[in-house]
């Protein structure tokens, strides 16, 4: 990657089709922007792939695509989100995340300055999570063929020996823990959407949860049955998914479910349910009753789990319903969302 004399005009320049052509301009983009932001010994070797050490334990691998709009939102951007999301998918297996790949599909005309901000926040998020972005890909498509920028990532990590988190481990009587307030990310994104912009101080909760997971595993060990991050579809989708996979039902207490007042107000305004709204820095844990208090205490002692709460329990239910005792005194189902959440007219 050495020998390219001309520097990118980060301040005023933008992506053109030559930056995806495989030629000098593309090499210049990769070395001058992505390597600057991600810089590590594996990338510095300049190979089309990276060889790495794994150590003991079982490997986990995950992949994800990021097509968020808008690209920049309160509390983050598509770059940091891509790292957090992939790290969390690995961490939910109880694994230590190690390495990521990042593939960029960039629209012609995309500004270098925005790309640099996104790449730098990816690099920062990766360093904070202790993972390395060690390989990647860059494609440029014609104007109008991508919504500015799409990022696709893959990640690998290692699960410590003896740890096996899986939905089939869940049992009747297990407790449902949530690491904090729900819906922050989805509302932060919606507040900046074109045509829907509204005033709010809500920030995305986008964060890497691997360290919180370490502390939870230390406190709960094998008493932790499984963990999931309730991203798209929110808590409702996550618990319905677990109910199906574990052949159980759940009973939640609405009063115990933490939701920020600002998020509740925005949902009220838009006719949405916070339980269906996306999160990017929260996890749900199903844990045995014996370790529930210890795990909850460990969560609350961590900055990313300070609002953690026990919100319900697993019950026997052939229909796999997620039921909820409402804060009003009645009962209802918490169901999957049917399609996209669309604001109601009245």
């Amino acid at each position: 990657m050495r020998g390219h004399q001309c520097k990118l005009d980060i301040k005023n320049g933008c992506i053109d089709l030559s930056h995806g052509s495989g030629g000098r301009a593309m090499a210049q983009l990769i070395s001058g922007l992505f390597h600057e932001a991600f810089g590590n010994e594996w990338l510095a070797r300049g190979n089309d792939q990276s060889a790495f050490d794994v150590g003991g334990g079982r490997m986990v691998m995950t992949t994800d695509g990021y097509v968020v709009s808008p690209l920049f939102f309160p509390g983050g951007n598509i770059g940091s989100l891509a790292v957090h999301g992939t790290v969390n998918d690995i961490a939910m297996a109880g694994a230590r995340p190690l390495y990521l790949s990042a593939s960029f599909i960039i629209e012609e005309g995309f500004r270098f300055s925005h790309l640099k901000m996104i790449a730098e926040s990816m690099g920062e998020a990766a360093r904070s999570a202790g993972v390395h972005i060690i390989t990647g890909d860059t494609k440029v498509v014609e104007r109008g063929k991508a919504d500015g920028l799409f990022i696709s990532t893959a990640g690998v990590g290692v699960v410590p020996d003896g740890l096996d988190l899986s939905a089939e481990n869940a049992r009747v009587g297990d407790r449902v823990l949530i690491s904090g307030t729900l819906g922050d990310h989805g509302i932060a994104i919606m507040s900046k959407r074109q045509n829907l912009a509204f005033e709010t101080d809500v920030m995305s909760d986008s964060a890497s949860l691997h360290d919180l997971v370490v502390k939870m595993v230390e406190a709960g060990g094998h008493g932790i049955r499984l963990m999931r991050d309730p991203t798209r579809g929110g808590l409702a989708a996550t618990l319905n998914e677990i109910a199906q996979q574990s052949d159980l039902g759940f009973r939640l207490q609405e009063e115990a479910i933490p939701v920020k007042p600002d998020v509740a107000a925005a949902c009220e305004l838009l006719g949405l349910d916070p339980l269906h709204v996306a999160n990017e820095g929260k996890l749900v844990a199903i844990v045995s009753p014996e370790v529930a208090d210890a795990v909850l205490a460990a969560m609350r002692a961590h900055p990313l789990g300070c609002d953690a709460a026990e919100i319900g329990e697993a019950i026997a239910d052939d229909h796999h319903f997620v039921q909820m005792a409402t804060s009003f005194g009645g009962g209802c189902i918490v169901d999957w969302l049917s399609g996209e959440q669309l604001p109601r007219i009245c």
Binding site: C332, R344, C346
Partner: protein, 380 residues
């Protein structure tokens, strides 16, 4: 949340539930129809059924403007949207409403139609200004609540001399539908269920007031309580209805005094009457053709009428004959009595009007209440 949490207080709710239990006559049933889908949503979301005595039954009415839009009108909108010169602006929850043969605006959009989701009528005006070479059509829908913004938008378009803007009008009226439920000739075919009172519309009544319901209370002898959408509003309204029934009264009472006055919003009503006039008949999904159940643009504004501008042909599409929506939204049958419920008809694949929007009777039961189908209801 100030002004919201106060109306969701559990202790007050338990007190109201106790008062209802104390006042109901266990020897008779109380069958109350909540006309609005918003009320149906509240009943289901907050589990109000669990708090009422067994002989107090809530009947989920037709009152959701998305639910009652007939499939033919969706087909008409899809045909319009497929014209290359047209940008069709719609409210979000219309996107999934099924037309005939599973078509929807969402699917039309995927096939290339320029369908844009808007959050207000002003968005549609802005899109028309930004696209002078295209024809921008606003898919106007809703009860009396959303009609004033459409009227104001049409007058704004006139003021701005917008020549590329029109409205596909599907606004409908609630009192004629309530009357239709009580006296429709269909009742002879599908049977009837006695309705002992109505939970009256909330937001609609903010606009039109309480007077349009007085003839129903008088002529049909049905008590009506105009009610807000919060669960405490509804519990209080149910108590008020129980008292009217016990005292053999049939009046229009206003529980929602913080928002509704007897004459409604005079300015809004004036805007609507300037721009719109009654259609002598308008089809409601599930109810059929309701006399004076819809609105159209007055002659002075017909240049903004998309149906005339584009020569749109009225399309009538029959619902699936197995669909029980007509009986369900009159309270004759419950969602689980329909053999389509939960099989081919779910919120993801709605067949009938009651499943179309989240506020429909079947959708609300599917989304929030179907666990009760598998358990004994506790004895109150």
């Amino acid at each position: 949340m100030k002004y919201v949490d106060e109306f969701r207080d559990k202790e007050i709710a338990l007190g109201l539930a106790k008062a209802i239990r104390a006042e109901v006559d266990l020897a008779r049933p109380y069958r109350f129809m909540e006309f609005c889908g918003g009320h149906t949503h509240t009943v289901s979301r907050y589990g109000l059924e669990d708090m009422l005595p067994n002989n107090v039954r809530m009947i989920h009415g037709p009152g959701c403007p998305v639910c009652v839009l007939p499939a033919g009108r969706i087909d008409m909108a899809i045909h319009l949207a497929m014209r290359p010169e047209v940008i069709l602006c719609v409210y979000g929850d219309l996107m999934r409403v099924p037309g005939s043969q599973g078509a929807s605006l969402l699917k039309a959009k995927a096939r290339g139609a320029d369908v844009r989701m808007v959050y207000s009528t002003i968005d549609a005006i802005r899109i028309a200004e930004e696209n002078p070479a295209r024809e921008v059509v606003f898919f106007a829908i809703g009860f009396e609540t959303t009609t004033p913004p459409t009227a104001i938008m049409i007058r704004l378009a006139e003021k701005k001399h917008l020549s590329n803007f029109s409205v596909f009008c599907n606004h409908v009226l609630t009192p004629p539908a309530m009357q239709n439920i009580l006296e429709s000739s269909d009742i002879r075919n599908i049977g009837g269920v006695e309705i002992d009172g109505f939970i009256g519309p909330a937001h609609v009544s903010v606009i039109i007031g309480t007077t349009p319901y007085e003839f129903i209370a008088e002529e049909f002898g049905k008590p009506i309580v105009i009610t807000g959408f919060e669960p405490l509003d509804m519990m209080q309204a149910i108590l008020m209805l129980v008292r009217q029934v016990n005292e053999h009264r049939h009046e229009v009472e206003n529980q929602y005094r913080r928002a509704v006055i007897r004459d409604g919003n005079l300015r809004a009503k004036e805007e609507v009457s300037t721009v719109f006039e009654l259609r002598d008949r308008f089809e409601w999904r599930g109810l059929g053709r309701v006399p004076y159940g819809g609105l159209r643009l007055k002659p002075a504004y017909t240049k903004y009428d998309a149906e005339l501008r584009f020569g749109m042909r009225e399309l009538c599409v029959a619902d699936d004959p197995a669909c029980e929506c007509g009986a369900i939204l009159r309270g004759i049958k419950k969602p689980v009595d329909c053999k389509l419920f939960g099989t081919v008809c779910t919120p993801v694949t709605p067949m009938g009007s009651c499943m179309v929007s989240s506020e429909g009777a079947c959708a609300a039961h599917w989304t929030y209440g179907r666990f009760r189908d598998h358990q004994q209801r506790p004895v109150s």
